[in-house]
């Protein structure tokens, strides 16, 4: 009887009560945030009337739009690269024994547990030195900016992707790969036709997580950013210092909705890929990382 059965009676009711309280706890601030994005008053805390003006303001403010653009560029590039590299990393660590595997295994987890500030500072130092060297050795001049931000985001995203994909691979029955090989599939064909489709939920989860992390990161970004590379969270950070206006709520409501759409897509995508409903776990588990870097 592997299927779950809830305990009966009052305990169950208590559990349910607790659960719904927790959800209330989760959604109270979000609800407030969204509501006040429609507040026509300057001050977020006092409701004076409904209006879309903050959304309009947002659409007019090309600083915000610029920041949004930057965020999206960084997020997508870093997500794609990190997903590819992270997946390969997970494959190698989970499937093969090779020299340096132990060390790599260790390194792979460090970016997850390193404090943001440290990550930011060390990348700052690194880029500074790198730029110095590039300049003095090859006379190549390059600046901090979207490029360096993307490089930095990839650096921490790889680990998160790898961890999620690995969790997926661990449950993966490798006899399927043998079966494919036995049926005349080359290594690459086996990967394309069997392995990848089956770990897709994990990969999707990893990608999702990477995207969210990158869309929410302030600290690291601030350190490695350069001219014209202000990202949305960083800009919001600046705005907040000048006082929270519903404008910020509007912006973050938009981000919220955008992310939800993203999740929806990736989930739907994976539904079609493989019927298993529990695939969702990894995704969700993954996306949880979104908050880890606060």
């Amino acid at each position: 009887m592997s299927e779950n059965r809830a305990p009966r009676g009052p305990i169950d009711r208590l559990l349910a009560a607790n659960a719904w309280l927790v959800y209330l706890f989760f959604y109270l601030p979000i609800g407030l945030l969204i509501v006040f994005s429609f507040n026509e008053n300057e001050n977020v805390s006092i409701w004076t009337g409904f209006s879309f003006k903050w959304y309009e303001a947002m659409l007019q403010d090309d600083r915000i739009l610029g920041a949004l653009r930057n965020s999206l560029i960084v997020a997508f590039v870093s997500t794609i690269v990190a997903t590819v590299l992270g997946t390969m990393l997970a494959l190698a660590l989970e499937r093969y024994r090779f020299r340096g595997r132990g060390t790599l295994d260790g390194i792979a987890y460090m970016p997850v547990i390193i404090p943001d500030v440290t990550m930011g500072v060390m990348l700052l130092i690194f880029f500074f030195q790198a730029i110095g060297l590039m300049d003095s050795w090859f006379g190549i001049g390059f600046n901090t900016g979207l490029g360096t931000i993307t490089l930095a985001h990839i650096a921490f995203n790889i680990s998160f992707v790898a961890i999620v994909v690995r969790a997926r691979l661990a449950q993966f029955d490798s006899s399927l790969e043998e079966a494919a090989a036995d049926l005349y599939a080359s290594r690459w064909q086996t990967f394309r036709q069997i392995t990848l489709p089956l770990i897709a939920p994990g990969v999707a989860g990893g990608a999702l997580l990477a995207l969210t992390l990158s869309l929410d990161d302030v600290v690291v970004t601030q350190f490695v950013s350069g001219p014209g590379s202000t990202t949305l969270p960083v800009y919001v950070f600046g705005l907040v210092r000048r006082g929270v206006t519903p404008l910020i709520n509007a912006v973050s409501t938009v981000m919220l909705v955008a992310s939800m759409v993203l999740v929806g897509i990736s989930l739907g995508l994976q539904r079609t890929r493989s019927g298993g409903g529990d695939d969702l776990e990894e995704d969700v588990l993954a996306s949880s990382g979104a908050t880890v870097r606060q």
Partner: protein
């Protein structure tokens, strides 16, 4: 053809440095024969199969398929297909996609793939479920898909790893018959792994009995059953009474109880040995009943009676020191022996063979 289907010479497989899963296997499997590997769990059957298929490489020894040395050839370059102990069906593909996979990899053209898949689907009576996902099939159906997926490629050698292990008695028996007939029809070489001795006996042309990675005996089903070459084989294949005796002459042995009996003339003329007697080769006679001449007799007391539907198993005690099992047909004509009743235990000397440890 002249050359052998599969040829293992001194094949050894070690896991880690110390643990030897397969130990110096010398084995030749003829083309078109149904060969079974039989042995208790963990004896190295699957490992052997995996080496033939190319999932593992021998630590040492040579492995030829149809005369060609396999060396480091990967599985996809070997003329071999496998039916996995755990089906290993692709969960994200339908039944027919699963079956078509191998052909697609071989770049067979669309139409032909379609036909061949259809044909094999009929063979395994799954045409109706062609578009189902493996999850939606019962154990028996999944097993048949796995089979079809391998068969459709018409490999020179088909490896089957306990393909029926998961099925319940009835379904198992039907599948056994189907498999056997199929093999007769397509005439490809089957290498069949099982730990069910009855299954092996029913289906195989030849059987190899393994234990602890070693091949103990290879031979026709009848030979293995009738003339086991070791205590282990005798005991593993079917029920058998193993009675310790001391050899007094080339053709005579003495029981613990002191009674002497003639046996088929054997190799040794003295020392300790084990007398093997199949329960069904033993019969019980009332004390006053005539016993066919030439038969050995021994007075015994009935101490257990177990009902098996078509037969009764009696446990009897006599001079042998330990309980002897006797199998008696259950026919209305025959009347039953009660517990503690006395009777004669009789058998023909040919029925007994001597093995030594």
């Amino acid at each position: 053809m002249a050359e052998h289907a599969v040829e293992l010479a001194g094949v050894t497989k070690k896991f880690g440095d110390d643990f030897t899963a397969v130990d110096g296997l010398d084995l030749v499997i003829e083309d078109g024969e149904f060969f079974s590997l039989l042995g208790p769990s963990g004896c190295g059957k699957t490992t052997t199969l995996r080496m033939i298929a190319g999932f593992e490489y021998p630590t040492s020894g040579s492995l030829k398929i149809h005369g060609k040395e396999m060396g480091l050839k990967p599985p996809n370059e070997r003329p071999v297909n496998t039916v996995f102990q755990s089906y290993a069906l692709f969960p994200h593909m339908t039944v027919s996609e699963n079956i078509a996979f191998g052909l697609q990899m071989q770049k067979v053209d669309k139409n032909e793939i379609g036909e061949r898949v259809k044909r094999v689907l009929d063979q395994v009576q799954l045409s109706k479920r062609a578009d189902a996902k493996p999850k939606q099939l019962s154990g028996g159906m999944q097993q048949r898909v796995a089979l079809a997926r391998a068969l459709v490629n018409e490999p020179q050698v088909l490896l089957l790893d306990e393909p029926l292990g998961a099925l319940d008695l009835k379904l198992r028996q039907t599948m056994q018959v189907e498999l056997k007939e199929l093999q007769n029809r397509v005439g490809i070489t089957f290498v069949y792994v099982t730990h069910d001795q009855e299954e092996a006996l029913t289906m195989s042309d030849r059987i190899g009995v393994m234990s602890d990675g070693k091949l103990l005996q290879v031979g026709k089903s009848e030979d293995i059953y009738e003339h086991p070459n070791s205590r282990f084989v005798a005991d593993f294949i079917g029920d058998i009474n193993l009675i310790p005796v001391s050899v007094v002459a080339q053709d005579r042995v003495k029981l613990a109880g002191g009674q002497e009996f003639p046996v088929a003339t054997g190799a040794l003329s003295s020392g300790e040995a084990t007398l093997t007697l199949r329960p069904e080769r033993l019969s019980l006679y009332d004390l006053d009943e005539p016993i066919p001449d030439g038969y050995n007799r021994l007075k015994v007391r009935i101490s257990r009676r177990v009902y098996y539907g078509d037969v009764y198993y009696y446990g009897v005690e006599g001079g042998t020191g330990e309980l002897v099992e006797v199998k008696e047909e259950n026919r209305p004509s025959v009347e039953l022996y009660e517990l503690d009743e006395e009777a004669y235990l009789a058998w023909h000397p040919d029925a007994a063979s001597l093995v030594v440890e």
